[in-house]
Each structure stands twice: as C-alpha cells, then as structure tokens.
Symmetry: C2
Subunit: 340 residues, 2 copies
Amino acid sequence: MPTSKDVAQAAGVAQSTVSYVLSGKRPISEKTRKKVEAAIEELTYQPNAGARALAGRRTRVIGLVIPFIPELEMASLMEFVSVIASTARQFDHDILLVTEDEGAAGLRRVVGQQICDGLILMQVEDEDERLPVARTLNVPVLLIGIPRDPSGLVCIDADFEMAGDQCIRDLASAGHSVVSIIEWQPAVVNRHVNYVDRFMRGADTAAESLGVAVHHFPGGADVAIISESVDKALAATEGVPAFIAPDRTIQDILRRALTARGLTPGVDVSVIGSASPTLAELQPVPLSTIDLRPKEVSRRAVKIICDLLETENQGPHESLELVPTVITHRASTLRPPHGS
Amino acid sequence: MPTSKDVAQAAGVAQSTVSYVLSGKRPISEKTRKKVEAAIEELTYQPNAGARALAGRRTRVIGLVIPFIPELEMASLMEFVSVIASTARQFDHDILLVTEDEGAAGLRRVVGQQICDGLILMQVEDEDERLPVARTLNVPVLLIGIPRDPSGLVCIDADFEMAGDQCIRDLASAGHSVVSIIEWQPAVVNRHVNYVDRFMRGADTAAESLGVAVHHFPGGADVAIISESVDKALAATEGVPAFIAPDRTIQDILRRALTARGLTPGVDVSVIGSASPTLAELQPVPLSTIDLRPKEVSRRAVKIICDLLETENQGPHESLELVPTVITHRASTLRPPHGS
DNA sequence: TCGATTTATCGATGCGTATCGACGATGCGT
DNA sequence: ACGCATCGTCGATACGCATCGATAAATCGA
C-alpha cells in the first residue's frame, strides 16, 4: 500500500505538501497540485484511515445502534439502515453497526475506543436504558424516536400526532362520522415506544374538534383478534365504516378480515393504512396511506448528526425535529362528497 | 480520554508493559498485571482503535456489502445483517456497512483506506460485477451466494439443491405423485441469483429418481398470476395436489388463492413454504417449511472470514460451503401413509 | 533598489499503540 | 561462589498522517 510519503517522493515534494493538497487547508500552487495529483493517480494512493483518525482525531464513522431483532418490523428497519448508510456516504462518513445485544456497554465501547465520532440510536423507547449513558458520552448522539424525557438530547421522528390528525380529517371530509382505529401489534406497543400514543393523541384531538367518534381497538398478530375488532367496529357504526391501521402487518390482516365479510375498501368501507407508494399500489385495491416517511427521517437524522460533527462545539445540544407525514388518497377510501 | 501511557504512569510501569498486559504476548508477573489492571479499571481506559490499527495493521472491522434496496426481501436481508453483526462481535470484530450504490468502487475504497480487514458480500449474483474487483483485493472476501465462476473465491450459501430434493422426497413419501413448484418472484429471478436454478435442479433430480411429475410455474407478486398457476396446477393433477413455494411473498399469496378455492392445506392440498419456525406456527394452518437457515449461513460466514483473518497467509483461498437445509413437517402437508 | 509582505513549501513533531532489542534480576547447577 | 540461562520489564522506534512554525521565493510599494 502506498503512503503519502511515497506520493511525495514520486511528486518530488514533501509529505506535508501532499497532505495539504488533499485537505486544501493551505494554498498550493497549480503546478505542484498537478504533480501531486498525478502521483496519487499513478500510485492509486488512498489515505490510511487509522493514521488519519489518529492524527486528525476524527474517524468519519458514525455508529448505528440497531434494535434487537424482533422478527417483526424487520423490513421497515432495513429501510432505515439502508438509507442511513447511503446518506452517510454523501456526507463522507461511514456507518458502523452496533447491535443492541451489546446493550449500553456497546455504546461506551465504540465511543471509548474512538471507533466512532457519533451515534445514531434507532427505535428509542419511552424510558430507554441507553439514554443515561448517551447523555454522558462526549460525542454527538442522535435519537430516532422520542423518549419521555428528551432533555439534553437531540431527537428526530415522524410527526405521528400530525399523522393521526391527517387520518381523521381525511376520513371526516369523506363523510365518515365514526372511525375505528386499530392499534399496532402488541409486540410494538409493549416495547414502550410512544409513537403509538402520539398518533392516538393527534387522532383524538382532531376527532373532538370535528365531532367524529373514534373507537380504539387493540392490535394483534393473528386473525381472530382482528376479526373480533372488526365485528365490534361494524356493530358500532352506522353508515359506511372507516378503519385506520397504521401497522403494516395489521393492515394486511384487516384487509382479509374485511374481504371475508364481503366488504370492499373504497366502496363499502374506507381503509387507511401505512405503506410505501409502491406497495400501496400493488394492493388489490390501491391503499390510501399515511406515509410516515422513513427515508426522510433517515436522511435528516444523518444530516443532523453530520452537522453536529462539523461544529465540534462541546456544549450539549438539545433539539426535537418532527418530520411532516403525508396522507395520500387512493382507491381504498371514499371520495369526499362533490364540492367539499 | 486516558491513554496507555496514563495507565502506565498510574501503575508505575512502562507503556509497553501495559500493552503486553493487554495482549498477553509476553509473560507478565502476577503482581504487575494486577497493578496495571487496577489502573485500567480506575481510569476506564480503552485502547484507541485508530492507533491500534496503525501500529498493528489490523482494524478488526469487517465490511458488509449490502445489496441495493429492492423494496422486497428486506426482512430477510435484515435478518442476515443482524446476525452477522452479532456474530462478528463474538469474534471481537465490528461490522461496517458498505452500500451497493457505491458499486465496486466502494470495495476498493474501504479496503484501500484500510477501514476494513476483510469483506462479506451479500446476494452475490451469477455474474457479479463486484467479483473481478474482489479477486484483486488483497484481503479476505467472503461471498454469500454462489456466482457462476467461484474460482479463487470463498463462498457460502444454503444448499438449495438439497432443499429442492428434500421438498420432493417429503411430498413423495406423503403419497403425492404430482408436485407443482411456484418459482420466486420475477424481481428475484431477474436479479440472476442462481439459487433458483439450484433449487429446481435438486427438485427435478429427486423427482426423476422417485417417478414424481413436477410442474413449474412462474412466480408473481400479484394474485392474478398465482391464481392462474394454481388453476393450471389443479387441472393437471389427479388426487391431492401439492405445492412448493419457497418465496415468502409467494407463499402468502398462494395460501389465499387456495383458501379462495375452498382448499385447506393439510386436508385437500399439501403446501410447503419457507419461513422461520415462529412465523410458520402463526399461520392459520401451521406451515410445513423448508428452512434455508439464514442465521446459520450468517454465522458461518462470519466464522469463515474471521478464520481467514487470523491465518493471514496471503495465498488466495478458494472454498465452497453449503449449509444443509431442514424440512419440517407441520399441518399444511399430508401425513405419510401409516407405516411408511 | 531595498525592505516589507505575502505566498508556497519544507521539516519536525505528535497522535496512541505494538513490537523489538536490551538489560537487570532471579534462579539454576556445579 | 560463579557463570549461565530465564524471566520480567523498560526504552526506543515505527506505523501514516495532520499540523505548526520556519524558510525560501515571489510580489509589492516607495
């Protein structure tokens, strides 16, 4: 492997000059820059990351703490991971995976060994055991998700309250006065992420101001529970029933339960789910969706932490950014009455 | 951040002694070891990764090249990633994400900058553009998947041929003489991964030796295509029909298509799918599965490359490891006739 | 034309660890 | 008691790069 010294020798300059050509931190004449760049090209020189980290006290690596494999939600998780990694590259950073099974000790390790310049924590819970540790680490930490006490922390998440609001308003404007919301699966709810509450709060508030009645039903991974909820919901509704199912697994089960009862989304019943546009269009009846914008959340998360890494001021930051959600009409919801 | 020099000072020894206590590469008296360990504890010393990499020419990081986000198969992908990261930790290594959108240049980068000691390539295609590059990198590379020409490369994958064989034998022993296999989705097939072919070869060979007739049907993401295949398959079968659907998405669609026709798995029809035991049990009718053992593949992949990293001999290795698949009877297939 | 600036480059040093050779201390046999 | 191997520790050096101060060269003003 060629070193910057080799490059310097090939270009007939000092090693430090090579370094300055690369970093641009001192003026370099056009002539020597050309020489150095030619030498770099010829030797296919690439700076050694370890040496760079040692001398520059910067690794340009961000640790990504992924939650413990819950067998569910994996697809969604992967989308975050993938977009985070790509975006990090755009900011000239790399992503190191830190698995949850290392626990809080893992955070101390990657920061203590200075493998990472900063951390992104995914799936932050209401009372997350990692937070006390995160607060004491002397590196920027970015949370995806909002804990009960976000003081002294930098958080970002989808605006679930807005999502709940949008769903209710949308159904209300389509003429529904009763809406049934089916919660996330117990596996999600029990993890004590609070976006469930935020969503419901947004929905309830909107419903109250619009005079819409909202029924809540527990989520469940198996058909029986959902079927039961559907029956209760149908019994409690006059006119065309409306369902909101923000959990992807739930919405699949819901669709089957409705089909089994001879109800067609967009005709006899309105359904709002959550899915990427692509997947939504692939449904038997294209699904109206509330888009929680995982990609945008991921992108902003990376941007925020990279900004923090640039301005290396040590003062503990604190901020809370909510990414607006987007509701999209497709065939699974009734159209609003003409003129409304 | 304390350094090994600080530790040395606190313990009243030389810095090199601290290093030897940590590495164990030279004998250290019980007494000074205790002193040093106490100092490490007290200062919460952790060795600097950059310095370590520089001096030891080893980063203890493995690059994991994840395929370009295909919107499908994400859950399965995440399972690999998660297990790989955990297993790497057991071998005292970390995982750096390398996204496919950097292309082959990404491989050169992470190796050239010596961010990684080795690479794991996921989802290797038949004629993978990354392979020529991989062969010239002077670090161990481990492929998950088997390219057309595996010469000079180290590969591991599930034994899809065995999987095909097992499925056919299982159905044959349950009395089926005609079996319909529904291929993976076009999105998978078109990516030119060859495990599809390997599976079919195993199935066809077994079928021939057992006198079983096999019908192949294309996969498809939407219900219409699968329904059509099912109808054709039913028409072509006398007695109880049997289906094999190794693609998870397909198997979900298949189940609905069969249900719609009043066929109950395990009673009027046999179905073998692919899913984790957990998910298989959650189905309306517990699904007989062919387990492609993604976790085991991941674990072995990490073990292999870590072994290669230990024995740093430079000679280009070549090997091909196939992980045995496991077929598990559940309620969705007919029971073999008594006594067989 | 000569000193005062500015510009471009060089040499030296430090970052924190691993490793090698050296050296004093200890134990051995005779 | 003396030479000799062994054990435990130390000091010095290298790893490859970033950065600082210094210096030579070029530019400018008067």
